[in-house]
């Protein structure tokens, strides 16, 4: 037996050598897990960049266009969209719902996990979180105005959208939540924006990041829009004025500098001082050469409606911008690759928001009229402006508001507002859309998978 002893000990040694559990804790080389991702500032910034890209995916494509396609600005060849006859099962429309949530989830990861894992200066974490809050707020705004039942008509207690503010950590059904009320979603959005405004920089070092990443101005402007949507006019005016405060933003001299024609020559619309927030021309998504930023207005995919064109004054230069005489193309978004900077918040919107909010709270007032005049006048740089408004032009606040809304339609055409502005005042965005279909249907998928916890909008 003695002679085997060495063999046995060798054998036992081999057994012991191999039984290390530690050897099972392997980490991938080419990929990161969450704790590594958010450990460093650089990788966090990269993830934030991707979150912006997801936001672009969710907010710059169809979600952006629907405002015009169903709002009497442009025609669509999709009758379901115009008439509101979308089947909740139709998968063609699920992206409108699902894509903003992708960005929301990524923002949730940053908001919640960055404080847990970050190993860099706290003062550098706060602005990153603020940007994530801005993204989350924007996406919820985009969702709510499409899906919230009466969200634009002050129905605070009606169903809004499911509110997810925790990051994804597996799914087993217990994460299902019912739709929060419109009021709750609005409250969350404004809470996010208030927090963001506190930590965001007012200016960024270069035009690209100034235009394409959240700033105090952009967050204030978004908050103003949200307040306008939720009919909190006083707050709307305050946020809008906060956005305009300082010397950070100004109107471009004319429309051609704002939307230079680059149908023939590839280029980008400048991220000028008029822009509060835009999606930059990005090398989007993954690989392919033909990725675009999701704007299909070019190439005459969607013809401008003749009635809308006719509503412009004769020498309104904005008319040119959407109806080039020499080509049936629109100058906003003429890039041949359909890849360009996509303007999401522009100073005139903020100005008209302030004007409208003040008119709502203070009635006919000079600040509102002044703002209206500034926007209107900029459309006439060659020919004289047809009219300079004074308080005498408006018998009632409603008349002023109507005029401001008309200006919004002209100024912000093809920037995704028309539908929502109409609904806010109880008007049909287009004659074919019945009032019961102002809110989009929640994808049936959500109702099925939550076994009815998520409820469909009434009317579907």
């Amino acid at each position: 037996m003695k002679k085997y002893r060495s063999h046995i000990s060798l054998f036992t040694l081999l057994l012991a050598l191999c039984a290390c559990n530690r050897q099972l804790d392997l980490k991938p080389e080419g990929t990161m897990v969450e704790s590594e991702l958010l450990k460093y500032e650089q990788t966090t910034q990269n993830y934030l960049a991707d979150t912006y890209l997801r936001m672009m995916d969710g907010c710059a494509g169809n979600n952006y266009q629907i405002g015009d396609l169903t709002g009497g600005i442009a025609g669509t060849n999709d009758p379901n969209l115009a008439k509101g006859t979308i089947d909740p099962r139709d998968e063609n429309y699920t992206d409108l719902w699902s894509k903003p949530y992708v960005a929301i989830n990524q923002a949730n990861v940053i908001i919640h996990q960055l404080p847990v894992y970050a190993q860099f200066d706290k003062s550098k974490q706060a602005p990153i979180i603020a940007e994530a809050l801005f993204i989350r707020a924007y996406c919820y705004m985009a969702l709510l105005r499409l899906y919230g039942d009466g969200a634009l008509q002050g129905k605070k207690d009606n169903m809004g959208v499911p509110l997810r503010i925790a990051p994804f950590d597996g799914y087993d059904g217990s994460q299902n939540v019912p739709r929060a009320t419109n009021g709750e979603v609005y409250t969350q959005i404004l809470k996010d924006l208030d927090a963001a405004i506190a930590d965001l920089p007012a200016v960024r070092p270069d035009a690209l990041s100034q235009g394409s990443r959240a700033t105090k101005g952009a967050a204030n402007a978004l908050a103003a829009r949200v307040c306008l949507y939720s009919q909190q006019y006083e707050k709307a005016a305050t946020y809008a004025q906060a956005a305009m405060a300082g010397n950070n933003y100004s109107l471009q001299p004319n429309f051609w500098t704002l939307w230079p024609d680059h149908y023939e020559t590839l280029g980008s619309y400048p991220l000028s001082k008029e822009i509060l927030f835009a999606f930059p021309e990005s090398f989007n998504k993954t690989s392919k050469y033909n990725d675009n930023n999701g704007i299909y207005y070019a190439y005459g995919y969607y013809p401008t409606l003749p009635d809308f064109l006719a509503s412009y004054g004769d020498h309104d230069e904005r008319k040119d911008s959407i109806d080039l005489s020499y080509e049936p193309l629109m100058r906003k978004f003429t890039d041949q690759n359909m890849r360009d900077n996509v303007v999401m918040i522009r100073l005139p919107e903020v100005m008209l928001t302030a004007a409208e909010a003040l008119a709502q709270t203070k009635g006919v007032n000079s600040t509102s009229i002044d703002l209206l005049n500034q926007v209107y006048a900029r459309a006439y740089t060659v020919n004289p402006v047809p009219h300079v408004y004074t308080a005498a032009d408006f018998a009632t606040p409603a008349a002023l508001i109507d005029r401001i809304l008309q200006e919004r339609r002209w100024e912000l055409a093809f920037e995704g507002f028309a539908r929502f502005d109409a609904i806010r005042y109880g008007k049909a965005p287009n004659p074919e859309l019945p009032a019961t279909r102002y809110a989009f249907p929640i994808p049936q998928h959500e109702i099925d998978i939550t076994q009815g916890l998520i409820k469909q909008n009434p009317g579907y």
Partner: protein, 1155 residues
Amino acid sequence: MVTVLILGGITLLYANNGYSQLLQQVRVTEKFENESLASCVRKLESGYHLSFGYDNQELVRYQVKKLSFVNERLDKVMQTLLHNTPLHFVEKNGVLLIVKGVMPAQPLQEQQPAPGKIKGVVTDNDGQPVPGVTVKVAGTKYYAVSNPEGAFEITLPAGNYTLQLSFIGYKPVQQMVKIVPGTVAQQKLAMVIEASRLSEAVVIGYGVQERRSLLGSVSTYQASKVPGQTPVTIDEAMVGKLAGVFIAPSSGVPGAASNITIRGISTLNANGNSPLIVVDGVPIYGIDPNLNKVDYNQGTAGGFSYGGNQVVNEYRQPTTFEKNPLATINPDDIESIEVLKDAYSTAIYGSRGSAGVILITTKKGSRGKMRVDVQLSTAFSKPRELPKVMNGDQYADFYTEVFRQKDSIGKASSGWYIPLNYKFPKGVNTNWLDEVVRTANSNNAVVSMSGGTEKSNYYVSLGYNKEQSYIINNDFTRYQGRVNFDNQMSKSLKVGVSMSLNQATNNALSAQQVYRGAIQKAPNIPVYDSTGKYNWLFGKNPTGPEDVSNPVAQALSGKNYSTDNRVLGNVFADLKLLPWLSAHTDVGVDWINSRSYNRIIDRPKLIGGSATETQQQLRKWVINNRIDINKVVGDGHAISAMLGQSFETSTENANGVYGAKFLTDEMLSIVTAQDKRVLNSLQQQWAQVSYLSRLNYEYKHRYLAGVTYRLDGSSRFSANHRYVGFPSFAVGWVPSEESFLKGVKGIEQLKIRGSVGFTGNDGGNGYYGNQGQYVVDVYGATYGNLGTISNKQPANPNLEWERTTTWNVGADISLWQGRVTATLDYYRRQTANAILQSALPYFMGFDLQQQNRADLNNKGIEFSITSENISRRDFHWTTTFNISGNRNIVTRLHQIDEEQLAAQNETSGGRFWRVGHSATAFYLYDWAGVNPADGQPQWSDNSGKVSEVPIQKQYPNAPYEHRKYMGDAMPVVFGGFGNTLNWKNFELNCFFSFSAGNKMYNGAKAAMYSYLGSSSAGSNVYNLSSDLLNYWTTPGQQTAIPALINKSNYAQAGFGTSYDYTLDRKNSRFLEDASFAKLRSLLIGYNFNSRQLKNTHVFSALKIYAEANNVFILTKYSGLDPEVSAYGSSALNMGYDELTMPSPRTWRIGLKASF
């Protein structure tokens, strides 16, 4: 009592030490009265299941008066019985030999003058003397029996004689000897153990077991016992030979992966249905498209086209090649292949066992003189058939007509329409298939040397294969070497090595592409243009496909190959600690290093050409340690147990670079490209720690029971679910050992067995499966000027292991000394919580995630029989037959929206899965033929209503509901049938494989029927099947081809997008019955006999043969071969023929010689 020995993990049954206990442990209670000694021995033989070796004539001479024993040790009994005789006994290899002390040579009759003498020693392959062997001198009356030292001597007249040695349990030996007067010829003779079928060792997981005691369901394939077929990869030869093992060679390209499915689909994961392959104890890098796929065209993003007719081109020939992992293993080195099927066999492989396990055991040397085996063969192969396509003139007329019709419709519908007025020129008829198809020649040479000395055994082999594809300039070359060596270091310690080095270069990666290209290229274009350059585009045709192709140029120019270098093997040590206790350790590796290089030369739209180079390194280490216990306790209780531990780790690297714009076509290095980028640079790892155990118990060979348990911990699973145990249980009963059957003549063994156990599947969730992962975008996506890191997969802390429960009952029967053996098995397999991409609520931020969602059921029956129908001196006839059937049913699927998710799964390249149907079912829109009245395609919805409007247009919101179950890609039954006839020196073997009840989607036809395909840059005016010439033109015409422009493809034909509903893979138009019977191999051989070889003084055996493979196919399938699979090894996507190259018909001549 013969104990089961589990030793060494290799097929060596140790004898000496193990069996001495036999004499002490078998207890005899028996009475002998007035009978011959021979009769006593026979009683012991049958009553105690002992094997004796003796000379019956000798033993009948002695009478036993009266003896009785009660619970007496066998050795005492033997001593008593042999007392007072000149005989004594000795135990050898479990056989008790009764021999005379010294046996002087004795002639049976009168003594003749004896001028010469022969003295010899008989040894076994371990060099140990074998006593009791009868040594006969052929054709004379002289014989001798070897003594306990194995020695014998015979006195003979001068001359040449043949000695014949025979002994129970050994192969008979013949040896020539020359007797010279007055001298003593010395002979050393080695005998090799010949296991009977029942006592032969069957390799099982971490051990070996005697077939008679086998409790699990194991199929064995031994190439040496099945003549015919000399394949490049062993799986080709196994097709149809093993019950329950479905093997479909995916294509006729040499070195392409096969689909191997054991007992049906057990999971819905892409890679989860491939069996684990273990070579000499090393679980190798097996069938796994993630590791074996060469993507040779990553640089040119061919997939994009907008607008266009994508549906017609729904199948896109991928620019990938899936390599067969068995192509780097020399089939001639393989001794046997065991396929483990039921849970009792596979549960010992735990988390990797649920798709079955294939154990490959390589050849070992055996004691004795060096033996050299040489095999040479050469083969010619050609496709059995080629697709029938239009010639140049037919093509030109056809497309001229198509565009004329488009124009007339266009003009009628809109005043703005500008007619194309396309005229396709006639006069040139290029047969592209003839240009690229050749008669391929293959050569194969293998040399092996094997033998052994007293302490060591060796097997060394060298091989060379060159296999041409039937596509020009595409071939597969392999060099291989193997060393298997073991050495008895001391009485208790044996060490050895089993190692192979291989290099395989596959230059046929693009054969499939060339083949497809040759079918589709316009035939009215010559191969070369007027300047002698390749015609890459569409020549004088008014339009042509966007893709640039010239099959001849693709085959002849550029490069596309992959070279794999593989080191596979292990070193091992066996330690015999006690007679009943041994330990075994092995350390194994599987290292694969491959380089793939693809070069497309300068051509239109790709100025300067492009190249892709990928280097892949796979390195695996495996360490197995185990202790084996074999003990007989008390009266007839035998226990064999194994306790072990295993650690396995794998590191995988891949680097890929892409370059474009080379200065010249001769510059190959990607460094010389003007545009280059890194495609891939990655290392991934995984590791697994396992603990294993097995306990087998048997009582008097009559009652068997066993239990196994494996605990697996894998790095692929989260720490919470890291370790999982996999138990299994089995029981067996051998009625033939019971008294009521014992006496029945003819029944050698009848065994009934049952087992249940659990196995798992770790392939589903990939590397680091449960962790949320973030990746840097390889294409450099940016936001503004910031690079991005994006979500690769969401965290999945809830993911659990899949679990497969298998129930198996089976019976083995062996009749007439093994002349007929048959096995019948019935099984049920239930997979619970199969991992499946399933839906999440969108508001979670992800829409799909792998979840434990699906349940599947398989049940099936397998039967196999081998029968030696005739066994005469000059004539042998053996028949083998097996048949299996498996029914698969998906019993649970997605939580919601089954049909919509099924459609989604289909869109992403999977099948349309439905609860209640097989995972390989075809669930399609019902094509109702062409209406002879108006030539319109007709469709039948789920209520049976026939309409000329495609279902998808009739029911745009929920078309899926109108799909129908149209059959299954998996056969109802499949199997093989073979016959071997030996008449004198001739040998004839034929083998059929068959399958019945399976459907095949003839996508080849769909591709050759596609004439409206277009993209933004042109019309895909591909060449077409000549069937299309019979398109509908006149009312009343009965034809399967509808009017050229019809309601199912007209939609916007020619004006932007057009969608041909008749050609997508979602309808039943091209679904066909693919039942078949195939004559896989037919072989005629001639074995030279010893007399013929005597004069050569060189060969000890020589065989020449001629063989034909894939001789004919009996099938109703209208394509070329019902056995192809466009999706390679994927079991889930089987049943699609997409112009997939079929296996060729091969004629081979060869010789096998031994020295």
